[in-house]
Symmetry: C2
Subunit: 255 residues, 2 copies
Amino acid sequence: MERGAAGGETVGSDETLFAIAEQLRESDGAGVTELADRLGLAKSSVHKHLRTMVEHGYAVNRDGTYHVGLEFFRVGEYTRDRYEVYHAAKGPVDALAAETGEMVWLIVEENGRAMYLYGSRGDAEISLESIVGTWRHLHVNSGGKAILATLPETEIERILDRHGLPMRTENTVTDREELRAELAAVRERGYAVNRGEDVEGLHALGAPIRHDGVVHGALAVAGAARRFTRDDRETDLAEHLLTAVDDVEVNLAYQ
Amino acid sequence: MERGAAGGETVGSDETLFAIAEQLRESDGAGVTELADRLGLAKSSVHKHLRTMVEHGYAVNRDGTYHVGLEFFRVGEYTRDRYEVYHAAKGPVDALAAETGEMVWLIVEENGRAMYLYGSRGDAEISLESIVGTWRHLHVNSGGKAILATLPETEIERILDRHGLPMRTENTVTDREELRAELAAVRERGYAVNRGEDVEGLHALGAPIRHDGVVHGALAVAGAARRFTRDDRETDLAEHLLTAVDDVEVNLAYQ
DNA sequence: GACGGTCGTTCGCCATCAGGAAACGCAGTT
DNA sequence: AACTGCGTTTCCTGATGGCGAACGACCGTC
C-alpha cells in the first residue's frame, strides 16, 4: 500500500478510507466495483470499508449505490460551530454584504490552508453554498494573505514549504520574494488585496480578525474587478471592511 | 481488537479512527495521552492515526491539542447539499416558521435514523444550530414517524430490529404493536403527531415529502405543548404544514 | 539549577488483520 | 438458457497496525 507523503508513518487503512470517501464525493455516489477500479483496490477491501462506514453513518446505501453519509454532516457542523469566530462574524458579514452589495466571506486557516466558513451577498443569496466549505491556498485569497501576514516568518516558511505557490490565474503570486514583499505591504496597509489571483476578474479585500493576540480568521469583500478598480472604491470598501472586523472583534470580546 | 456488531466483517482501523474523531468531538479537543487512555489504545497508535488525519485535514493541532478538522465540514456540506430536498425545502420551511411562529424542521432518514437537516423559527433564529446535524430515533420524532409510516412493513421491521424503541420520556412509544397502530393512524390522517415523546413538553406535527413515488424526507412543526393542545390549533397547524409540504413537492418537481 | 512529572513523539518488534483472488448468488439482458 | 455485471462472501497470507519502551522537550517545584 502506498503511504502518505514524507513526515513519518501514517495508517494506510485510514488513507484508504479517506480515498473512498473522496471518491464517493467526486462521483456523487458509486458502486463497489467502480470504487475498487478507480482506487486500484480489491472489491472485497472496498466492501469491508464501506460496511464499516455504513455502520457508523459515514456512508449510506441508497438503492444499490453507496453515498457519503450524514455523519460527516454531523461532525462537520460541530467543527464549524466550535469556531467562536463563526458566531461572532455571522452578523457583521451579513451587514457588510448588505452595505456594500458585494460578496462577503469569513475565512479561517487550518493546516496552512484557508477555508470559507460563511458567506453572504447583498443582492441574492445564490450560489454561495458551493463556496462555503471549500479550501483555498492562502496566497490566492485576500483573507488568506491577511492571515499569512500576521504569522511569524518561520511559520510562513513552513506553510510555503508544505503547500507551495501554485498558479491559479495569470495574476497569481508565485514567487516567494514577491509574496514576502506583498505581505509587508499588507501589514503596513492593514488589509490585503486580491486582484484576480484566484479567479480571473474577481477582486477582493481581506483583513485579519484578532482577539487576545491570536488571529481567529479574516473577513473578505469580493466582487467584479470592474467595480473594485473604480475611483476610490477600494479605500471606501476597506473602510467598511475594517469597521466590520472591529464589530467581529467586539463580539469576540463579549463572548 | 474489538470488532463491530454482528453483520459481517469490518475494518478495525476505521473503527479506531471513528472512535478518535468522536472522542475529539466529545471532549472539545484532546491530547494524545488523553485519547489513548479513554479509548484503551497505545499512545503510539493514536498518534499514528492523528498524523494521518492531520495530513488529510480531518484533524488539526492547535497549540498542542488535537481537534477535528474542517475537512469534515467540507464533506459534510457536500453531503447536505446533495439532498435535493434540502434546496427545495429551505424556502417553505422559513415561510412556515414565519406563518406559524413555531419551530420548523426538515428531517431526512439515513440508515434507519432521522437527522435534522435544516431548521427555522418564527421569532429568533436562536439555538437551532445545536439541533441541526443531530440524529434522532425515528419513533420519537414526528418527522421520523411520518417517514416510517410510508415504508413497507419489512423495512420497518429491519429498522426496529436494528435500533429498537428506546425511551426518551414518559410518553415515548416503546411497544411495537402500539407503534404499528399509530403508524396506521398516521397513514390515515396524513401527518404524524409527537406529544412530548422526545422532549417533555414539546409537541410536534410531521408530514412526509414525496416525489416520484419516493419519500425524500419530512417537514415538522414543533412548539410548546400548551399551545399545541389549544382548541383546534392542531388542525390549523396541520393545514399549514401540509400546504408547505405541497410547496416543497412542487419545488422538487420543478428541480 | 537540578529534579520529578507529564506530555508528544519515535523506534522496533510481533501477532493480527487489511487486502487480494476467486467463487458465489442474483439481476437483467441477449 | 447462457451470459454479463454486479454486490457479497470466503479463505488465505504477508504487510502493517498496535504495543511497549525509550526519548526528548517542557513544565512547575523544591
